[in-house]
Symmetry: C2
Subunit: 765 residues, 2 copies
């Protein structure tokens, strides 16, 4: 059995020895460097751009501006393409832009022999702008008479959507019975950035009749398509190679600079060009997690049963559409999918163009924002009627068998309540709620919790398709090629385990090709939406069965035995009737290669078109200590409990949860990308942007309720993104428990807490 | 139609711009270098090796000797493996050897930070030998009491083989009738080297759980296997990558230093190590074309009909077996396959271990040697009875429909006579034979010719198996992956044409992956035996048909039309009944990728196990001018006429012939690797080894008789090696015509000619 074991990461050795190659390690000889010139205003038009001085810098090879790029608008997000125009992503930018829409927009690019020349040239380029008043908030951008950020959206609303469930409207529900306790609140999430370890980097060059691009991406096959759309080159003439990457978290699920780099190389005769985006540029000019304001109302009976809720979510998209409306549309699903039996639930969402950094995909895809709002409201409603917030959730939470009325995604396996009970025990919920009931003094403690649910992949909102290829080597080992990508999460390791399980070849003899090369690697849309272990592994399972069948057919031929009586187990061909070991698969492989009678190179390839989806769920429990005068929150204990189906590799699953929890703690307590009134980022660097370090991180506890999911290829379902979701509301709710003060925006920074505690009278003037 | 057009080489742009990457271009950062320490005696035992001084050189990382290599003997030749021990190649060497068997044998290897350190260390290693008397000639090695070069072969004869055809023995044939004219002669061919442009180079490093080796080889999949055999590593844990290579001509059909380099990398913690063999080492220590002595007799009637021949060929193998006996066994086939209707033909061959450089595969695989002997004898017999040598061949040469009685290889198409007639016209044979009949004076002219035949691939002597994979891209273009290798001969270009023909996708939309990577590239044994355009393309044809069928099935599904009525022509799906163009294949591809209904990534892969073989044939006609006092031969006109079936790409076919003819001229006139009595190579460098340059080369004329071969995938058969075969005997026979002097050994060097002319009385003392 290869499933459920904690196989050591297959890339462990290479990563600790430094032999794992990342994009920058693959820089060829005589590589040129590119540097992007960014706008220094947030909204306006470039009226003139003066390059003479910059072009005179020794070592500058070429400078190209928005005048020079092909006139193709293209979409950047990492979604499967659609042949139907209505379902295609918004194509609202060129590789370089004359109208600038955020501080840091791309207006020119320098190609030089080295970074020194490129930097000098960048400083010497003079740009004349016609500047417009930038919109930093959704309210500014939606105000009557506001100037359109994109002419195609005169009111700056990129999209609006909504849904209503229950038997009546929210207003009717409030009027339908007496004694309801109601709340109206606004919860706000902030702009944060992914802060992946490896900067976005690509190397492009022309060879073999193609434009070749090595890039740090989550989605090599999508990058190929978008380069084609942005440059007008035939898609098949583009080759994208993805080596090891140092994290992405969704930022590398957008096609950021690969098209520009490919095109720059073509402008300098196909010479190799490296385009490495600095940390400062990454924070200011790539993608961020959207700031979303949730205007919510809720009504609850005194017995704790939920009656009605309403939510209007406004998402601050920044200057370009990127993933468009999908993220806030996903965010408001939290309200629908977490609780049940309401008379009314009304949700609305707007995605609004503004002039700050562009929002894109980030671990959780809107759910961390929506979950914060939904789970603050849950605690606030429970508190309003004096009910234990865990009891409130146990009473109202979504039940086994739930099916989303719109997407028809189901809880095919359901562990939410079990997860809550497990968390309750692990954090000692009942004892601590009691113990921390009536505190005084400057330092107080509390416990809080939050729940979440999360789908697995993108079906049926979008296409889920994956391919896998397996090749039998001469020694009975196999090579597995997948378009699905290892991005640090351990994908190659679990693919190894699953390919072993599917074929009967032992894990030590399964080699997963870690590098994707769109010329040779089977198609897969890539690493996002917690999809790969579910969707991509369906292709592994299908291909493994096919390969095994082909091996058994050859073995049957070689052994002159009926294939029906043969199986492949632990690298051996066995007789299923007697259990007898007949021949090592290595011998069968060698014969298949070299038989003078029937030489056959056994390989298998299959596409899996996944047309199902299942909810994962779980919760976070946090115990905190709040230093009220300092506004400082210390997390004493924190546990995530996940309902993610069967675990393929428990240690990797735990590590995945730890990473997500740490990300959630930064989101809860310290991270925020700030902008001034002109849309200028105030802290686009890792000194001023407060990413938590190892020293800031408490011991993290990961627990699981392992209920096999019948739809998962090996009983598994989403685990990649979920761990980051419930942490921030759990911490916020713990602070509420400790202090009685409801902080309604993220992060829970000392400044904000001190102000709130002072207002609440906990700090005297 | 993509066949028969002179498509510009698909790698032309990359090769002229320098963007084509060869092994040395792919050197990673911080790469160590390896240097092999060679023996300075030709035969003996290393008694002691002193490394202290060498190890003290700064920059030396490690020095390893024969003590440190695993005790595996392994075979080096590029043959398909056999699961039957009797058919496996001779495994007679280790990576480093204590018993040295030729001057330049490998006894130690230095790994250093740079070449300077490695070279300094090499000079400081002191080796103590017990030296034995080396054997330079076959006669010395076969003499009674000679010491065994390899203990496994006490008499130094690696192998002996022979065959007899005809109704009686040679002796009986001579006695069977009166009036026969007989001859006894010895023809000798010399040792030559391939002199490929790019030196043998490899780079090895450990990563991804594998030992990775980039190498300049003709046979990447075989290199993988041999590294496994030499090191004891599982074959699947070895990854071999073949980029562009600068020629091989058979020298890179031996696995020379890849196992050693892989093993060296593993001894230095998996760090990358480059092992580049210098030109001097290449000449002395890699592989050479065997010197073979042919002791022949022949009997002919006065009417010109051939009665009987006998041949004993002794092949000077050098210190290791490499391709073993296969080459001289092939050489004597010339006698059998070129002429017919003899009463007796007796052929014997010995392969003898000596202590000179190791013989291996070189363009023609024994046939250039055998053809020299057979075609000298043909001319000498014709001359003995006063018959025109062309008439002699037309009278006696092998006829249409010939089937080899032992291998059952057939002339499935036959153009030998037509080729001779075409050559006769092109060279103006009859006029020149007449014109040059009675010459006097120091400068004389003559015309000569020679014929040859050559099989296509290695079936049934060995396995012929090839695989191909095709992947449909989103834009309707395809990627073709093959284990068959581009080695400069234009393989990728003709594969492109053939894949286009097989699929209906236009040549501009067919991308052949030029780099082989044994982890991802389908299996194929590689570039040798003029096999790829025949054997490997059978896999292209099969795979192309499969891919086309899958595309048409998807198109039928998408268009709701029966697949039987659809075809793919010029990138369009067409209705075969009406000829109507229904949809571009690009649209079908896009729908197949992104259909929400049925997403399918269309690929196809197939193995072709080739169980057929056909003879190609042809001839060379040369007109020469001989300066008798200077011993100088000037080639005035030379034409090769080839019966190679249909031409896939006429321009590339012509270029192939030109290259072979130039190689044949070097073989004929100037090239020879010389050894002194101690087995030391006297001229292992390109100053003293006389490779012809462009200035030495006359205009070369290539002509064809295009008779489609019914067994060839597109009517084609062997063309890779044949052009080199008939040139040397044609030139030798032209000199005979010009001067009346039969030179019976190669090369026709000035020294040798002056001596022969003096002996013949053409030069006065």
């Amino acid at each position: 059995m290869a499933i459920g074991i904690s196989l050591v990461r297959v890339d462990a050795r290479d990563k600790v020895t430094g032999e794992a190659k990342y994009t920058a390690d693959l820089e060829p000889r005589s590589c040129l460097v590119a540097k992007v010139v960014h706008s220094t205003i947030a909204f306006g038009e470039v009226k003139a751009i003066h390059l003479d001085e910059a072009l005179a810098v020794p070592g500058v090879v070429k400078i190209l501006t928005y005048f020079d790029v092909p006139d193709y608008q293209f979409p950047t997000p990492g979604h499967p393409w659609s042949v139907e125009k209505a379902h295609q992503d918004v194509a609202d930018r060129r590789m370089l832009n004359r109208r600038v829409r955020f501080y840091g927009d791309d207006i020119a690019a320098i190609v030089a022999e080295d970074n020194v020349a490129a930097d000098r040239a960048a400083r010497l380029i003079r740009v004349e702008y016609e500047a417009y008043e930038p919109y930093v908030t959704v309210e500014q951008a939606m105000a009557p008479g506001a100037r359109a950020v994109h002419d195609e959206r005169p009111n700056n609303v990129l999209a609006h959507s909504g849904f209503q469930v229950g038997e009546m409207s929210y207003r009717e529900a409030l009027a339908s019975e007496d004694g309801l306790v109601t709340l109206e609140k606004t919860y706000r999430t902030q702009t944060v950035q992914h802060c992946h370890l490896e900067l976005p980097t690509s190397i492009a060059w022309q060879a073999d009749g193609k434009i070749n691009v090595i890039t740090s991406t989550q989605i090599p096959h999508i990058v190929r398509r978008v380069i084609g759309q942005a440059t007008g080159l035939p898609w098949g003439s583009i080759r994208v190679i993805k080596p090891y990457i140092g994290g992405g978290f969704g930022n590398k699920q957008d096609v950021l600079y690969e098209p520009l780099n490919a095109w720059l190389s073509l402008q300098v005769g196909g010479r190799p060009v490296k385009l490495e985006v600095s940390r400062e540029e990454t924070l200011a000019s790539t993608r961020v997690r959207h700031a979303i304001d949730f205007h919510v109302s809720g009504a609850v009976r005194k017995d704790g049963s939920l009656v009605a809720r309403r939510c209007l979510a406004n998402s601050n998209q920044g200057g370009y559409a990127s993933h468009g409306h999908a993220i806030v549309a996903n965010a408001i699903n939290c309200f629908k999918q977490l609780y049940r039996d309401e008379k009314a639930l009304e949700c609305q969402a707007n995605t609004v163009y503004t002039n700050i950094a562009v929002g894109g995909a980030m671990r959780g895809y809107g759910i961390p924002q929506g979950d914060f709002a939904a789970e603050c409201l849950a605690d606030d409603l429970a508190r309003a009627i004096g009910m234990d917030p865990l009891e409130f959730r146990l009473k109202n939470c979504m039940q086994e068998g739930y099916e989303d009325p719109h997407t028809h995604i189901k809880f095919y396996s359901y562990g939410l309540r079990a997860a809550m009970e497990k968390g309750r025990t692990l954090i000692r919920w009942d004892a601590l709620r009691e113990q921390y009931r009536d505190q005084t003094g400057p330092v107080r403690r509390g416990v809080g919790m939050a729940i979440f649910c999360y789908k697995t992949g993108v079906h049926p909102i979008s296409l889920e398709t994956a391919s896998c290829r397996m090749v039998l080597h001469q020694d009975g080992s196999i090579q597995v090629q997948m378009g699905a990508t290892e991005i640090g999460q351990g994908a190659d390791t679990v693919f190894t385990q699953m390919a072993s399980e599917a074929t009967g070849i032992s894990v030590g003899k399964v080699h997963v090709s870690t590098v994707q090369d769109t010329d040779v690697t089977p198609f897969d849309t890539g690493a996002y939406a917690s999809r790969q272990t579910y969707v991509s592994v369906m292709a592994v399972k299908k291909t493994g069965a096919l390969l095994k069948q082909k091996i058994l057919e050859y073995a049957g031929y070689a052994l002159r035995l009926p294939v029906e009586n043969l199986d492949l187990r632990d690298d051996q061909i066995v007789d299923t009737l007697t259990g007898e070991i007949l021949r090592p698969v290595a011998d069968v492989a060698l014969e298949a290669f070299y038989s003078l009678d029937r030489s056959q190179h056994i390989t298998a390839e299959a596409t899996s078109h996944c047309k199902i989806n299942t909810f994962a769920s779980g919760c976070c429990f946090a115990e905190v200590e709040v230093d009220i005068p300092l506004g400082k929150v210390k997390v004493l204990n924190i546990v995530n409990v996940h309902d993610s189906g069967s675990l393929i590799n428990p240690k990797l699953a735990e590590a995945q949860v730890h990473g997500g929890m740490s990300m959630g703690l930064g989101y809860a307590l310290s991270e925020e990308l700030l902008f001034d009134g002109k849309g200028r980022p105030l802290n686009p660097n890792l000194l001023d942007y407060k990413l938590p370090t190892a020293l800031d991180t408490p011991d993290l506890q990961a627990a699981f309720v392992e209920i096999p999911d019948p739809t998962g290829p090996y009983g598994n379902k989403a685990l990649g993104e979920p761990p980051a979701i419930p942490v921030a509301p759990a911490v916020r709710n713990a602070v509420l428990h400790a202090t009685g003060v409801a902080i309604d925006s993220l992060p829970l920074s000392p400044q904000k807490l001190v102000e709130a505690f002072a207002q609440a009278g906990l700090i005297e003037d």
